[in-house]
Symmetry: C2
Subunit: 324 residues, 2 copies
């Protein structure tokens, strides 16, 4: 099967909102009047962003999910995406599964595949996603102010637990591994939360390289620092709350490290004024997304991770670096 | 050097037109009122789209040029692009050269780098480019009509000659190789021509996989066929007109094959009414781009490549397929 047959069979669907779909030199997009277009690109490489053992449908889901997560962090509504795909050979069962997972998530968010590229080469998936947001309403990294609460959505650290289990550095009871693996392979982009946080959050970012590392981007852009409650964050590891954790033998420190710096969570970390706590709760309810308050923005630069007594932890939490 | 330092050092420049530049979760773009956004994505893989021996600055140029060529084929004005880059290791001299070539071409077309991604992995360059075009004015593949002239810009076949010389399937005298290599490594996107062809061309496409193969996309989208003058096309190989060709010993058939189906030309093929010949000449002058009439759109499906006597050639011209 050649490049054009491949595109026709697995990736071509009738254009809806886009003026033109897959198949011309360019796709055409027209944001509604008063709307800005939010654009983000993520490249996924085997061994770095996914394991070779991942089910193709889950990989298709994840490849788009990590991009939708960037839109969520800006409070942008998904519109469309392009897919560039390099593969060692035309593997039809793989392509069928990959496109099924990819397009199912795309349909869920009414995010249309409008173009792209396919070529032979080492497996590499590059998606560029487009969303729209009213001019001036995008959530930025630079808006956090001293005294703001720091919040995070959903759960943290499970994806890293699964990665470490696959790497063989720790072992998880089967139910914990299953749950953690699902978080690693099929993250949920927090799109509804991001949309609802417009006008409520003062700054936001998606947690892809680990909570602390990503939070630092917000703090630097906002020229502030933060105090983070280690226990509140560690409680967000879902696998830790499972009954089978009793037999895992994992130390608290392992959960804490995964939650604070694990990576691959695709949750939203955001800041909001303390006077907006009720509003944040409403946003959480309306978007069906749990959010947890985990710290405070402070004037002093840097991040202080403290225990229940307010004592700073001495443990180091390196962020996940794709060149590390 | 980590991922964030790398981005900061080689790819971060102050935002101009984009509301936000490199560094937030998304870049924000606001097309002017009445404008549509044209979007295209191309992925370049070592060994498929470039040789490992290419100078990094030339590769940076080419990676953006092939994307600008897609905008040109739509008659869209370049606005911005994202870059996703996977590299085996952080090679600073390579990055310095690559970003220099890339950003020099970006500056030439006022096309701003607004975001992207970097990761470790096999060398892979994925650029998504954005241009703007008045609503309804984009050049499409589907507008060719029976009786239209078929035109092509610039020169054809030289990139393929260089590729075959590097592959060792033919040998070129040094001046011919130098000229052909430049065409392979530093193609010129025909942006000014594409802009000037709005309202003049009935259909357009950029020639990336070979003239005949790309022309077929236009013919299928327009539900027409074509007659192509083989001699007119073969005359477009620049290397063939060089004095040193006298000692190349290359057969006419080699030049013909490279011109008709070579690939990597990044010229524009377009159709226009015969009544628009003066207009096309004006466009050519205004955009400082040579264009040549090479055939006619016919009702009968398929492509007939004919010699000076109108006799169809029996030679086969397979198009360049990135999975072939």
């Amino acid at each position: 099967m050649g490049e054009f047959d491949l595109i026709a069979r697995y990736f071509t669907r009738p254009a809806k909102r886009a003026a033109l779909g897959v198949g011309d030199d360019c796709a055409l997009l027209a944001p509604a009047p008063g709307m800005q277009l939010a654009v983000s690109s993520d490249m996924l490489v085997e061994g770095r962003h996914f394991l070779s053992t991942v089910e193709p449908a889950r990989l298709g889901h994840k490849a788009l999910a990590v991009n939708l997560s960037d839109l969520a962090a800006c409070g942008a509504k998904p519109l469309a995406f392009t897919l560039a795909l390099s593969m060692p050979s035309v593997d039809e069962p793989w392509l069928a599964g990959f496109s099924r997972g990819l397009l199912a998530l795309a349909d869920e968010y009414a995010c249309e595949l409008i173009g792209g590229d396919t070529t032979r080469g080492p497996l590499n998936i590059c998606i560029t996603v487009f969303g729209e947001v009213p001019a001036g309403a995008a959530l930025l990294r630079s808006g956090a102010r001293v005294g703001d609460d720091i919040w995070v959505s959903g759960t943290l650290g499970d994806a890293r637990l699964a990665l470490e289990a696959f790497r063989g550095t720790l072992s998880l009871p089967a139910p914990m591994l299953k749950q953690a693996r699902l978080r690693m392979e099929q993250p949920t982009p927090r799109v509804a939360l991001g949309l609802a946080l417009r006008g409520v959050a003062t700054a936001a970012i998606d947690v892809s390289d680990g909570l602390l590392g990503d939070l630092v981007h917000v703090l630097l852009a906002s020229r502030v620092g933060a105090r983070i409650d280690a226990d509140a964050v560690t409680d967000l590891v879902a696998a830790r709350r499972m009954p089978s954790n009793a037999e895992s033998g994992l130390a608290l420190e392992t959960f804490r490290t995964c939650a604070l710096s694990g990576g691959d969570d695709y949750e939203l970390a955001f800041t909001a004024r303390p006077t907006a706590r009720d509003a944040v709760e409403q946003v959480s309810l309306a978007s069906h997304t749990v959010v947890t308050r985990i710290g405070t923005v402070e004037a002093e630069p840097g991040v202080r991770v403290v225990d229940a007594h307010g004592t700073p932890l001495t443990q180091r939490f390196p962020s996940f670096d794709h060149f590390g």
